[in-house]
Symmetry: C2
Subunit: 392 residues, 2 copies
């Protein structure tokens, strides 16, 4: 079995799908590992470290991937203009990466046409057996840390309270919107640096987690919130009255806030707008908003993905794209480990071959294409077609 890792060619992508550590593990599983020269450059991994770990270096992506059985990617194979990464892969090869399935129907079709077996790592189910393969969690964790570092770097003040002979500097006030993996890590990091942190989430269930990290949970006083809490589940849609109260509460809090970090994402759907133009207009000169959902439409009115903009009232709105590439070495370490655990699941150790058991929930929920066909029920597979027929 041959496993290949090409250099990532998406602009700004600094991660790579393999580390010297995981090279050794793949070799142990029976793989011959080939890596394109320079693949680890931006993650501070030089070619010779891969060689020491037992890999071979190929000069080009084609030379690396041409006869590979398994190809590990970070970003989706690029098929754009004159670039076609798929063209190098052999029929029957397995491609694993962050395929962005919700946005790439065309690519999924092309991978099926090319006879590739493909897997989207963002579809790994959130079950405990799959925790070690959960790329969204591992990368969100780093994104949450990095959002705080980037905001601190942009902010014209320091985070901790400082009492000196010349007077006291007040601590920075930070609000985190959305207390998922990224949000919780942002809360923890901002607290570490000495900020006063509050968090907002529509799910009352996360209140305790926020508090255990030293954050204050921003509560909306409304009967609807109470009923959502007794129901015990996620609050997906609140009443209009609740939404009005939420907006009023958030506006009041944000007027006294120095830094806002938003992290609210809904898989496969645009991010919800939570911080409105009206709220931004009420914030102080010199404040920072960092929107981790910018690439998915943004939680903040007026955010531009990949850019920082300044409002008339002096609030900087940052819409970072691919923020984890800023901590490429660690993001790579985690991602490569997630991939290794995922691939291990599909290797038959005796026969030294890949086995795709679609009875396994993890494999079933991540597989996009197989034997020339789209197979995922949500992305062009049979069930998807039925659903479309139903909806149409």
């Amino acid at each position: 079995m041959k496993l290949a890792v090409p250099r990532e060619i998406w602009p700004g992508e600094k991660r790579v799908a393999i580390t010297p550590d995981t090279v050794k593990k793949y070799t142990g599983l029976g793989f011959e590992v080939v890596i394109e020269s320079g693949a680890g450059e931006h993650a501070s991994i030089a070619d010779d470290r891969y060689v020491e770990a037992g890999a071979t270096i190929a000069k080009t992506a084609k030379a690396a991937t041409g006869d590979a059985d398994v190809i590990l990617k970070v970003r989706p194979p690029m098929v754009e203009g004159k670039t076609n990464e798929l063209a190098a892969y052999k029929k029957g090869a397995t491609v694993i990466g962050l395929i962005e399935p919700y946005d790439r129907a065309e690519l999924i079709g092309k991978m099926a046409e090319a006879g590739l077996t493909s897997f989207a790592m963002e579809l790994v189910p959130r079950i405990s057996r799959a925790q070690s393969m959960d790329v969204l969690s591992s990368q969100s964790n780093l994104a949450g840390y990095r959002a705080v570092i980037d905001a601190a770097h942009e902010f014209g003040r320091i985070f901790p309270m400082m009492m000196t002979a010349a007077g006291t500097l007040a601590p920075t006030r930070i609000v985190v919107v959305g207390a998922g993996v990224a949000g919780l890590q942002a809360i923890a990091t901002a607290k570490r640096l000495g900020a006063v942190v509050s968090a907002f989430d529509v799910r009352p269930a996360v209140k305790e987690q926020v508090q255990s990290l030293g954050g204050t949970f921003i509560e909306v006083e409304d009967d609807d919130a109470a009923s959502a809490e007794t129901a015990g589940g996620y609050a997906r849609e609140m009443s209009d009255d609740y939404k009005k109260k939420q907006a009023a509460k958030l506006k009041e809090v944000l007027a006294k806030t120095d830094i806002v970090i938003t992290t609210a994402l809904i898989p496969g759907r645009p991010a919800p707008e939570i911080v409105t133009a009206d709220m931004v207009a009420g914030m102080k000169n010199g404040s920072i908003i960092l929107d981790l959902a910018a690439e998915r439409g943004g939680n903040v009115a007026g955010v531009k993905p990949g850019e920082s903009t300044m409002t008339e009232n002096g609030v900087k709105i940052m819409g970072p794209s691919n923020i984890v590439s800023s901590v490429a070495a660690d993001a790579t370490a985690m991602y490569a480990k997630n991939l290794l655990n995922f691939v291990t699941l599909m290797v038959d150790g005796e026969k030294k071959e890949m086995v795709f058991n679609r009875e396994d929930q993890i494999i079933a929920e991540t597989m996009l294409t197989r034997d020339g066909k789209m197979v995922h029920p949500k992305f062009g597979g049979e069930a998807d077609k039925e659903t479309e027929a139903e909806n149409g």
Copy 2:
């Protein structure tokens, strides 16, 4: 009495010498306060906030400072090419700021010629009565914090140890060279963020301070170090043998270090080179060195002030200039408060006038010019001339 604050015109300078808070205090002391429009812009202080506090806004620096009795500056008045800030000031006016006296003999002469009374805030003695005016401490403190934020922002990994389902990320290893005010704040900030921190200083007296912040003190095993410690004072010059051992020890430590922050400054003299090219060459790919002494010659071989450079072995050497301007709002708050305390010392509250009592150690040690003459014994004053004669 009229007190004026012009906009700072040094490239990259974002601080300003007055805040709305201190405007009120100056008014209380009997000053009429005039501020040039836009002076606080980069410190997130809009003109109207100064006006609310009781100041008047002038359209130009000349209009603000032309008839002022006291002029507050951050950086030295610029006299360069067609720019001459001094030209606007009236004879007999008092100018207070960071005058950089060790580097600006010519400027000091010109201020004397112009009949200005001038004070260099960096010369405030480190006595307890002057703590609230100690600009070097207040700004170094912020520089130490900011050095860590800037290094974290540049570094391709996260600081804290992270144990996840996909494995453990090791904490970042940081070495701080020079455990003065900036160094201690850098240690504290890096510890806060979860890094493993060691510190090096030639003064054994700071060992306890380093340890109390959770840092490890890097010790050089040598009889000379022991004798320096029993002497109880600062170790100014160590034996050649000690220096060799120090270099060997530091090289060994830096090879395992991810981030180095250097802060070793000697007032009025070039910064000592502590991190040699040989030590840099032994560091890991992806490591960061941030040299807070870059503007004074640098503690690190090959550092370029105001630039970031990459070595052949993938070590980034950052030589930030004016790092506190990155936290301009807080740096301004502290600096303005330091200035207020200094000016207060010289205001006769009854007569509503400035009084310069040269019997006062603080005033004597900071005053550069008075009545058309250079008066500081180290900077062109009488004692200085005597010293020159002796040395010559």
